[in-house]
């Protein structure tokens, strides 16, 4: 299509939506599907069919609304009044919701514990968030490109195509956006590197491997708003001069894959992808590659080996992918969430994005808030928010009357943050100073029942399992660390083991080949830093001494 056709399509879709009395949206993301949103969909469909006013209403699936622990969720939108959000919906509740909403009544008062009760939208869980990347999640139907276009979709691409590639890179650089995949490398700078690298053939890769267990930001984004990631990728390709893109998505995410496939197909059909995009000179094609269950394949060089059909072994850098990536060609690798932020930056301007966040960490970050909290789910917050706000305001505090012990960010590559640092602002540098990392956005809260050496052992087992085996510190070192932690947990360790543990951690950090090994000791180092007493209490000698005293 031509750029001028885009608003026409948008208006058509808007008119269609406005012609309906109301719009019922049920969440069809993986979490809500698991809680039973299939039955909700059936309930809603049946109730609408049975109701004479049903024809005038619209029913649509949508992506994650955030509070996954309260799913399945349903949102009902009206043109003339604020929307209503229902939680814990089931089949019967769906019928009641349809009846109430079509009758134009306020939701009937029901017992507080019952299914399908109203979830107020002015609670801190929602009000403390700033939705930039997730702005359309839970609002649009992810399987309909028209809905995306009606919500400003592909306008950023039109705008970008009107700029020179250098200007696009500059804009991203000025916005201060940093990579959301973990390392926080300035995105605009990375684009510049790829753009200026020599070579006719270039690639863009969206990293959707999301290996951190306990994190699902990228999954949700791909499921709830696949076009925004795709559009971000097309803009990136234009900026760096790439002709081919790959989505690398883990096999555990079939729904995300399905939605991306559909998005690619629809965008191609509309001329937003493929040859001469939007009538311009620029052509770009996208394929999906499925990861096959290897955490290390989130690491960019291993990921490229995997796309090339090899064992997912990382290799030495330099050369960086920007100089020599897929099949030796310059390659841009960005995290899915990083690409998801692009359209907003292009549309609203670098200055606007730059205005959110802290001095060195700009914009918003999505976190998967999990663990022992009252509210678990997916949140998007401005950089610089304190951990306390996240845990207590958004997360609703620690569940079941227990107390907060620590929050783990960065998963197996990160560290824990104890209660005394709850007021630390969440940004790349502050988290690093505490011995953790921003990571990709997993945030797991542990309460006072968690044993920190056991948590460290859990992460080390993960690393042992996921080590590719190429370099000796990671292959052998993690096994030895795990062995010591096992001794600690079994009460068989002595002080010398702890000394050896600390030294080993430093060796593995300093000598491993890739980020997996280099960061594998982090959970051990950080739990030792903040909870050394727990380790010491578990030492064999200490344990037997205590036993004697109590005897």
């Amino acid at each position: 299509m031509k750029p001028e056709e885009l608003p026409i399509l948008a208006d058509k879709e808007k008119a269609l939506q406005a012609s309906k009395t109301c719009r019922l949206l049920y969440c069809s993301s993986t979490a809500c599907v698991a809680s039973g949103s299939g039955a909700v969909k059936d309930g809603l469909t049946r109730a609408l069919k049975d109701n004479p006013a049903g024809k005038a209403a619209a029913l649509a699936q949508t992506g994650c609304m955030g509070l996954c622990s309260h799913g399945p969720m349903v949102r009902v939108e009206h043109a003339d009044r604020p929307s209503t959000l229902y939680e814990y919906v089931n089949g019967e509740a769906a019928a009641r919701i349809v009846a109430d909403e079509l009758a134009g009544q306020a939701p009937a008062a029901i017992a507080p514990e019952s299914a399908g009760r109203v979830l107020p939208q002015d609670i801190p869980f929602f009000t403390r968030q700033t939705k930039v990347v997730l702005a359309r999640a839970g609002v649009i139907d992810p399987e309909r490109i028209e809905d995306y276009i009606a919500h400003d979709g592909y306008t950023a691409l039109t705008r970008a195509l009107g700029m020179t590639p250098e200007q696009v890179c500059d804009e991203i650089q000025r916005s201060g956006l940093r990579g959301r995949g973990g390392a926080g490398y300035p995105t605009g700078l990375k684009w510049q590197h790829v753009r200026s690298a020599a070579g006719d053939k270039k690639y863009v890769v969206a990293n959707g491997d999301e290996g951190d267990p306990g994190a699902y930001m990228d999954r949700t984004l791909m499921e709830a708003d696949p076009h925004s990631v795709l559009e971000g990728m097309i803009i990136a390709a234009y900026a760096v001069g790439a002709q081919q893109g790959f989505f690398y998505v883990r096999a555990e995410y079939p729904l995300a894959v399905k939605r991306l496939e559909r998005a690619i197909r629809m965008a191609t059909r509309q001329g937003l992808l493929g040859k001469n995009i939007l009538g311009s000179e620029f052509s770009f094609a996208v394929d999906i590659r499925i990861g096959a269950g290897a955490f290390v394949c989130g690491e960019e060089t291993a990921l490229m080996a995997s796309i090339e059909g090899q064992r997912g072994l990382p290799r030495m850098r330099p050369p960086y992918p920007a100089q020599s990536g897929l099949w030796g060609c310059p390659t841009l690798i960005n995290n899915v969430e990083t690409l998801g932020a692009i359209t907003a930056i292009v549309n609203k301007g670098a200055d606007w994005f730059h205005g959110i966040g802290t001095e060195k960490s700009k914009g918003t970050k999505i976190f998967a808030l999990t663990g022992k909290l009252n509210n678990t789910g997916l949140i998007e917050v401005p950089m610089g928010i304190t951990l306390r706000e996240i845990v207590y305001d958004i997360g609703g505090g620690v569940a079941a009357g227990r107390s907060f012990k620590a929050a783990q960010t960065g998963g197996p590559s990160g560290g824990c943050i104890p209660a005394e640092h709850l007021d630390t602002p969440v940004d790349y540098e502050s988290l690093k100073a505490l011995g953790s990392i921003m990571g990709s956005g997993g945030l797991v809260v542990m309460d006072d029942t968690s044993s920190m050496p056991a948590v460290a052992k859990f992460f080390m087992e993960f690393c042992v399992d996921e080590s590719c085996g190429k370099c000796v510190p990671c292959r052998v070192g993690t096994v030895q660390i795990q062995g010591i932690l096992q001794k600690v947990v079994d009460g068989k360790a002595v002080q010398a083991d702890i000394d050896r543990l600390e030294r080993l951690c430093v060796t593995v950090q300093r000598t491993s080949l890739c980020g997996l090994g280099q960061s594998a000791p982090n959970p051990v180092i950080s739990t030792l830093r903040y909870f050394r007493d727990e380790y010491e209490q578990m030492l064999g000698a200490a344990a037997s001494a205590r036993a004697e005293v109590s005897a």
Partner: protein, 180 residues
């Protein structure tokens, strides 16, 4: 095409013949064709084969090696690298328990050990009668519902050991020995 091996020349046709007229091979062939039999599509083709057959047999890997022009050693090396691929047929039913961080913190390990005890099977293995494969995963991306399990493809959240036993029992239509 022929491969030069001491065991004698094996052609793609022969390797295919070893798989007999298995209709599932069609899916693999289609994947091979979709990627123009390019060697770099090895993972895609292996995934398709794994999904179609439920595991990768030696004949299947040999066939893929020949069809994609990828040395058999590499096919085997790649297949054993990724956790997704298995080399033995799975049980009639599968129960995957997530042991990702969020699920671990919420006690997923107890679910695994309960099921292990109840069905006398180690995580990652299949019961002797071939009815149940008990598997563990590292995060299924539904952490908001932790602990999470997948029973024959269906995701269930906020599991307890008790729930899990019940669900598996309905799944395979048998109450665990230990509870009888």
């Amino acid at each position: 095409m022929l491969i030069h091996s001491r065991a004698g020349a094996v052609s793609a046709q022969q390797a295919k013949a070893a798989l007999a007229a298995d209709p599932r091979l069609k899916l693999v062939e289609r994947a091979i064709k979709k990627f123009d039999a390019r060697g770099d599509a090895l993972l895609e083709v292996l995934s398709t084969a794994q999904e179609a057959f439920g595991y990768l047999s030696q004949d299947l890997m040999r066939y893929i090696s020949l069809a994609l022009h990828v040395p058999l050693a590499r096919v085997y090396g790649v297949a054993t690298f990724y956790h997704l691929f298995t080399f033995k047929p799975a049980g009639e039913h599968t129960c995957i328990v997530c042991l990702g961080t969020a699920c671990y913190v919420k006690g997923a390990a107890d679910i695994v050990s309960t099921l292990e005890g109840a069905y006398r099977v180690k995580a990652g293995q299949t019961t002797a009668d071939g009815k149940l494969s008990l598997l563990v995963a590292r995060c299924l991306g539904s952490c908001g519902l932790a602990p999470v399990a997948v029973m024959d493809g269906g995701v269930v959240g906020k599991e307890t050991p008790g729930d899990a036993i019940g669900r598996v029992a309905t799944l395979i239509g048998a109450i665990p020995e230990a509870q009888r």
